[in-house]
């Protein structure tokens, strides 16, 4: 008899040919599971064996006949077989709390979800009540995974303590940062985890309605979430009596429209209200006056999805992972010019070098590593000399960088950092909400200054432009309302500082 075959169904596995492989397998593959995040091996086929699941990958449709043939004899003899999937060091050394079900359960199976710990967090939250639930979240040390790393427990207590006829939970699934895909994987692969986290949040802070704002670039995540919501509602996890709590909570999915700034929480709220996504001045904070002017708990996908585990296992269990004030685990995302691109969930505290070299295996091109941009388009370019910095919010802030949403984009020596600096400002100009001048105008001026700097015929011409550029970066950094204008200077300044030659500068010129 043919053993069970498992093939991921998420959008990226399909983007590299998983559907074609599935067609070639036709009736053979039993299930399309959620991906493990081992993207360099996708399309990755897993096959049951007495020892555990064996992996084959990356496959093409053309490999399918030979794989099927190998399954009748000695599977390990196939050239694309790489042994037991769970013994792969890349996976085995991870600490998967959030992505514990990745590769194992079917995204839309409530039975699978429940069989692997699903809804234990909600059950406990219902049992211990709102006050204790908010305390667990506070005590766990969980910080927002959307970028700013603000303590989640403080927001929960604020929204809970605020009286209002209506409160909201808003999940920020705009995931606009280049180099990030953990939200997408979670929504496509384990949608009930996010729903459970939001339901716990709802009954804890007294919100009765929620929205998941998903970027339009993620249509598969939207479709999966909508199906999952229907299933969860039918099973009583949403609706008038959430998980037997006697409290009501329901939610819907809303789709963005291709504006990076709508990832900023107040712009997102305006967008949800049907307006242009323009950043609001704070105060008031959304926890007090958010969606439609009412108290709103806004969190990133990963923040909300961390809550069920914290409830199920307790705050102390979660705190045992991590270092300093960065507690728990973070799903880091390896992208760009990297040999082993994928998702690496580990407790905070491993170094960037371990991540890029041990997990990532260095550059995909095999050329020397030049830098890594950590934390998305507003994050600094970190040179290899700083790769021993531990992945910890405070340690990264200490070197003028940030962890953000955990994306790491690796570049080899062929990438021109002057062009990347130019792009950072061009991106800021294109995506600016237009509310403040340093961001709206400064970013466009910055692109022009870099162009003049690169075209300057002599040293004095270059010096002049460098001074203007630094000045402009200062104005943007200190005069912008939000981090788009306020942090776009970070990739520019780091490129200039560590890679002056790309701008045609001597090290001393860039330093002045």
């Amino acid at each position: 008899m043919m053993p069970s075959l498992y093939l991921p169904s998420d959008s990226l596995a399909r983007a590299v040919g998983a559907d074609e492989v599935a067609v070639a397998l036709i009736t053979q593959a039993r299930e399309r599971n959620l991906p493990r995040g081992l993207y360099w091996l996708e399309p990755l086929l897993e096959v049951d064996s007495p020892q555990g699941r064996i992996g084959f990958g990356p496959l093409t449709a053309a490999d399918v006949p030979s794989v099927l043939e190998a399954l009748q004899g000695d599977p390990s003899a196939h050239p694309l077989a790489f042994g037991l999937v769970e013994e792969l060091p890349y996976l085995k050394t991870q600490q998967r709390l959030l992505f514990a079900r990745a590769g194992i359960t079917r995204p839309l199976s409530l039975d699978d979800y429940r069989a692997h710990g699903g809804f234990e967090g909600l059950t406990r939250a219902v049992a211990v009540g709102g006050e204790q639930t908010a305390t667990e979240v506070f005590d766990s040390g969980l910080r927002g995974r959307g970028g700013a790393a603000f303590p989640a427990g403080i927001k929960w207590r604020t929204v809970r303590a605020t009286e209002a006829a209506q409160k909201y939970i808003v999940c920020n699934a705009d995931e606009g940062d280049s180099g990030t895909f953990a939200d997408r994987m979670l929504m496509e692969g384990d949608p009930f985890l996010l729903i459970e986290g939001m339901a716990i949040a709802g009954i804890t802070v007294g919100a009765t309605y929620g929205y998941i704002y998903v970027r339009s670039e993620y249509p598969d995540a939207v479709a999966t979430l909508r199906q999952a919501l229907n299933l969860a509602r039918a099973a009583g996890y949403l609706g008038a009596n959430v998980g037997g709590s006697g409290q009501a909570f329901d939610m819907e999915v809303r789709v963005g429209a291709g504006a990076y700034i709508c990832g900023e929480e107040t712009a997102l709220l305006d967008s949800l209200e049907g307006k242009r996504g323009v950043v609001r001045a704070k105060p008031p904070i959304p926890a007090l006056k958010g969606l439609f002017g009412l108290p709103t708990l806004v969190h990133n996908v990963l923040t909300l999805a961390s809550v069920p585990l914290i409830l199920a296992k307790g705050a102390q269990f979660y705190r045992d992972y991590g270092m300093g004030r960065s507690l728990g685990t973070m799903p880091f995302q390896l992208a760009g010019n990297i040999r082993h691109g994928g998702l690496v969930e580990r407790a905070f505290g491993l170094t960037l070098r371990e991540l890029v070299e041990d997990y990532g295996g260095g550059t995909a091109s095999g050329r020397p590593l030049k830098a890594a941009q950590v934390g998305g388009p507003l994050g600094a370019w970190v040179p290899p000399s700083q790769f021993d910095t531990p992945l910890d919010y405070e340690a990264f802030a200490g070197i003028g960088a940030m962890l953000g949403h955990g994306g790491v984009v690796v570049a080899d020596d062929s990438l021109d950092m002057a062009q990347m600096a130019r792009f950072a400002l061009q991106f800021c100009a294109e995506e600016s909400c237009g509310k403040c001048t340093p961001c709206r105008i400064g970013s466009t001026r910055g692109v022009e200054v870099i162009d003049r700097l690169l075209a300057a015929p002599d040293q004095s011409g270059r010096d002049e432009q460098v001074i203007i550029l630094k000045d402009l970066c200062d104005t943007m950094q200190y005069g912008s309302l939000c981090a788009l204008g306020g942090m776009a200077p970070f990739p520019v300044a780091s490129a200039l500082k560590y890679f002056p030659a790309d701008f045609g500068l001597q090290a001393s010129e860039a330093d002045q």
Binding site: G176, E217, G256, S271, L272, K275, A411
Partner: protein, 158 residues
């Protein structure tokens, strides 16, 4: 465009569907664009009326978001990712290839009406950069050859 008037019943039925839903302008615009291919000018007074907003407000929202189109697109919509991860894996070379083959800037429709080109900033496919989206489907680990093959397929189905 007089034939836009023919689309008004559809627009109105979509508006009806969102009646009573708070802040529904984006879902409405998405629905209209999905069914009609773009947001017809004739739809704007209808939307404004249904939401009790000014036409200027509706136009302001449409122009703010990169996704919304106010003219029909070409037969195929190709969005090449131009963000950092894809740039570090050769996205700019692919962009140059597209400009050359389609005789287009980064934004616009090819003369034969087969392809509308647009940049996009990240498709969440960064572990397998470079990537593009063609008619809603993501293709990753692109090479010059695969891009050429995708373009050929777009042009052949005229």
């Amino acid at each position: 465009m007089p034939d836009e008037m023919l689309q008004l019943p559809l627009v109105n039925s979509l508006l009806e569907r969102h009646k009573g839903s708070a802040g529904a302008l984006l879902p409405i615009l998405h629905d209209i664009q999905e069914r009609i291919g773009y947001i017809p000018d004739a739809a704007i007074p209808e939307i404004a009326h249904a939401l009790n907003q000014s036409q200027a407000e509706i136009r302001g929202v449409i122009s703010f978001y990169h996704d919304f189109r106010t003219a029909p697109p070409a037969r195929h919509i190709l969005r090449l990712c131009r963000a950092e991860s894809c740039k570090s894996r050769g996205a700019e070379e692919l962009a140059a290839q597209l400009r050359e083959r389609l005789q287009l800037d980064d934004h616009g429709s090819s003369a034969d009406g087969s392809i509308s080109l647009r940049p996009v900033y990240c498709l969440g496919a960064c572990a397998c950069s470079p990537a593009l989206e063609l008619d809603g489907r993501v293709h990753a680990r692109l090479s010059a050859e695969r891009l050429d093959a995708l373009l050929d397929a777009c042009r052949e189905d005229a």
